[in-house]
Amino acid sequence: MLRNYLKMALKVLARRKFFTFISLFGISITLLVLLVATAMLDQIFAPQAPETRGNRTLGIYQVTLRGKDTTFNGFAGYGLLDRIARGLPEELPAVEKISFFTAPATAVSYVGGQKIESSLKRTDGAYWQILDFSFVEGGPFSKEDEANARFVAVINESTRGRFFGNAPAVGRTLEADGQRFRVVGVVRDVPVLRVVAYSEIWVPNSTAKSRTYRKDYLGNFMAVFLARSRADFPQIKAAVDRRFDLAEEHIPDRKTFQTVDGGADTLFEAASRVIFEGGRESRPELLWALFIGLAVLFMILPSVNLVNINLSRILDRASEIGVRKAFGASSRTLVGQFVVENVVLTLLGGAIGLVLAAAVLAGLNASGLIPYADLRLNFRVFFEGLALALFFGLFSGVYPAWKMSRLHPVQALRGRTV
């Protein structure tokens, strides 16, 4: 029975090439947009190498200092983060590791008379233990390296290529922003969208040009905490919040600022904190609401499209339905027929969308529009999108078909008189 439906469906779809094409097109492009958008979001938020432990990582990414009429929003200084983190692992064994690192800054180097700009990040030793980089040469620098202010550096493959051709780089010297470093490790390129992991050159914190950075309340540092498990998050967040309150007593410029706000956030929560400014607290629900709102808006269009197309498809075949009914087809058979057609269409459209998305993502990765992008397909989203498409396809197609099939054959045959 099903095979008959299937054969019929394929024949019908082949006959009505234009409608088939349009429906396939609509479904595949919708899924394409969905998959591309999700791939981007995944690359920003989802745990992917080197942030393989992203699932159990919290971070302090931004802080806000508030005064009577003044607000400061920006990166925290080492001093503030140090105050927050001091004693935290002892208080909460759930905090396995803590790392302080800077936001990437542009560093200038001159190689053979040519000026090269690279992203440079300063980190401590724990950074390399929380993140999971892929080393193609050598290894990371350690806590001892950092404590002793050794001028060592880890670079990514592309930087190695730019500075040393493709020869092994470990042991060689690299100059950036006037400082000279010895390369100790080379890692695979990291996508620029990964806030915590991204850079092209990594060097120890202690090589900073400023000698007072360890006391600064404001600077360009961020902190991440590796928790034992997600279940420990609420505990850690609460502890960090408490410490932020305590930190207020030590704000250097108390005349201008009286409160300091921040918290241990997941990347998503941090984004909501930044977007829905105020920075006072993270409002992930708002960000979710925004995304879902946009997604719904985005989904309305192809749905209306599908409904339009399906409606005309049905009307067009009014006479065919009438004839079939006249020859004894039951409503159920007719509806079943359309269901199979819609399912076939949706699955085909989905497959095309998937292929298109794979191609587009590969193209994006290669184009360099987003440096070092490594966008990947998210199959969970694909299946969810497909399910949604199926739902809309069925809803928009079956309902009119069912109504039409309940008409007397004569009425259906009449159809429209043109």
Binding site: R414, R416, T417, V418
Partner: protein, 220 residues
Amino acid sequence: MIHLEQVTKKYRTERVETTALDNINLTVDKGELIAVMGPSGCGKSTLLNLMGLLDEPTGGKIALDGKAVDRYGDRDLARVRNERLGFVFQQFHLVADLSVVDNVEIPLLYRKMSNKERRRAALAALDRVGLASRVHHFPGQLSGGQQQRVAIARAIVGNPSVLLADEPTGNLDSQMGDEIMGILQDLNNEGTTIVMVTHDPRLAERTHRVVRLFDGRQVQ
């Protein structure tokens, strides 16, 4: 009036070529009332379509009033179709979303007239075919015979010199068919040349001449 010389029409699909009309030579004089007859599939509708400039012949020449219309460009063809020809289709082809009077007005839309003049002409044409009481109805609300009459009104609203009718009484009962035939004869008496495709011999009797087709060729 209408002159067909060695006219051929072939249809080609992917695999098969069908000859619908083969070497037709035919002249229709002004004021004639002609019936085209033949079994189904013999090409009579195709012949009518060619005469009505709805299709192009594959070979041969067609002349209307001495002018070789098969060479005409789109603009000229449109003008001829609009001003000199009136076509009544077998399937009526009324626009379902327009009222009867709006349907009849359509040919006049492509002429420079005021809205009032158009309305007047349309109502007059509908009156002629006896549908004055149904002007604001929609085709879906009319019987087959009434729809046919609307189609005829639409065909005559522009005062064409030639009226081409494809099975004008095909969907009607005998009484209705007689009435329609009567209208056509009246029109012919007033000077309209009429070419009619029919399979009804009784109607054919009331015409001046019968052209018979078989398998795309003229027979006698």
